[in-house]
Amino acid sequence: MKANLYIVTYSFVLAMVCALVLTGVGRFTAPYQEANEAADRFRGILEVLSVPFDRADPAEQVREIYRRNVREIEHAELTLYELVPTEHIDVEPAVAVPFSGQGLWGPIHGFISLSPDLSTIRGLAFVYHEETPGLGGEIVSENFRRQFEGKSTVGPDERPGIRILPGTDERGPNEVDAITGATMTSEKVEDMINEALREVLTEHLP
């Protein structure tokens, strides 16, 4: 009985001490971690808007570049990120639209940038994903993302949305190649991009 009491007390004290230490460390590092996560968002927006910057820049500097070049436009339930055309005249004007959704293994967050008239896709960037490296993780590769540049945001039937298709057929103005071996991820990414496109197109077009 006495031995049991000792074990219970011992584990309780140990757990309390561990919890206290971890709470302290968590509190101390939280602001830095939040700044890092926010910087990743800024990097995604800057990248998709083709603003030149160095990915290795520290969080604070990225935030500064973001402040100078991007204007946030609040809509009812949607925030758009517009390139401020003052500093980088050689960069084409564009609007970044956030999209997010569930991937195969975890959440995916990213941005898609559109021409100011919202008819053409300018670029695509992913901020967060948990897909399998080498398979679904290939969504972040240049080869996959580059395909979207210049694609139309509406199909031949005037319905908003893009299509990410398997196979080797000729691609239409709003179609791109899916990733081989990552059908599920491709489909899910298509859905989340289309949801964002529909939202922004129906809100802006009459």
Partner: protein, 227 residues
């Protein structure tokens, strides 16, 4: 030297060699044990999962190695300090709790101050908790030895792990990208990077070749000692 240690405790003795009177209490032997004679990766074949996963680049390997050294040293220290108070029946739980504490601290600090690296190492920092090397040293050494020598043992074993990671990481980065720490060594003009070495199979080839090489060298010595 190697022959003597092994003749004394026998090849079957394995990881507990470091905890017996033969090696315990002697700093030099403890270090040699962790680095060479009983190297966690190439002799005990522990910690293979992370050794395969994070060694795509030398930098990743170095950070992972440093994290493991930190965790083993600290957990060995604390467990050794508490060794006379820990109730025997729940000692594994206590060990895991203490190891987990330091792993989480490591992970949080990486996330705060080494963000890009933290993203590349992904879940493998957190998985140090389940790294058999850390647990093995706590169970086999720190529970029976005083704090100072336990820290030495932790450092030696962590270093033994880190060195292998660095060797594999350097080899895979060089073969897979033609660079070391991002500096181009093999000019792309005449060397075509073999991307297989960056992918999972490359890790198996590199680690397998390394273990085979060490086994070939040691195998001869062990046979001699056996006679």
């Amino acid at each position: 030297m190697t022959n003597q240690t092994q003749a004394g405790c026998g090849p079957a003795c394995g990881p507990s060699c470091g905890s017996t009177g033969l090696c315990g209490g002697k700093g030099f032997l403890t270090v040699k044990d962790g680095l060479l004679t009983n190297n966690p990766v190439w002799v005990q074949i522990l910690g293979i999962c992370s050794a395969l996963a994070v060694t795509t680049r030398l930098e990743n390997s170095l950070v992972m190695g440093a994290a493991v050294i930190f965790v083993i040293c600290m957990s060995n220290l604390i467990i050794s300090l508490l060794r006379n108070t820990i109730p025997h029946r729940i000692r594994i739980i206590v060990e895991v709790a203490i190891i987990a504490l330091f792993v989480i601290v490591c992970d949080q600090v990486l996330k705060a101050f080494y963000w890009e690296m933290s993203k590349q190492l992904g879940p493998y920092v957190g998985l140090i908790i389940t790294n058999c090397i850390v647990m093995g040293r706590a169970e086999a050494f720190a529970l029976q030895n005083p704090p100072l020598i336990s820290v030495v043992d932790g450092a030696a074993n962590g270093l033994g792990y880190a060195i292998i990671l660095a060797v594999i990481g350097a080899f895979r980065e060089l073969a897979g990208t033609g660079a070391i720490l991002g500096h181009v060594i093999l000019s792309p003009e005449w060397y075509t990077p073999n991307q297989l070495m960056i992918l999972a199979p490359g890790a198996f080839f590199a680690l397998g070749a390394l273990i085979a090489l060490v086994a070939a060298v040691r195998g001869g010595q062990e046979q001699e000692a056996g006679r």
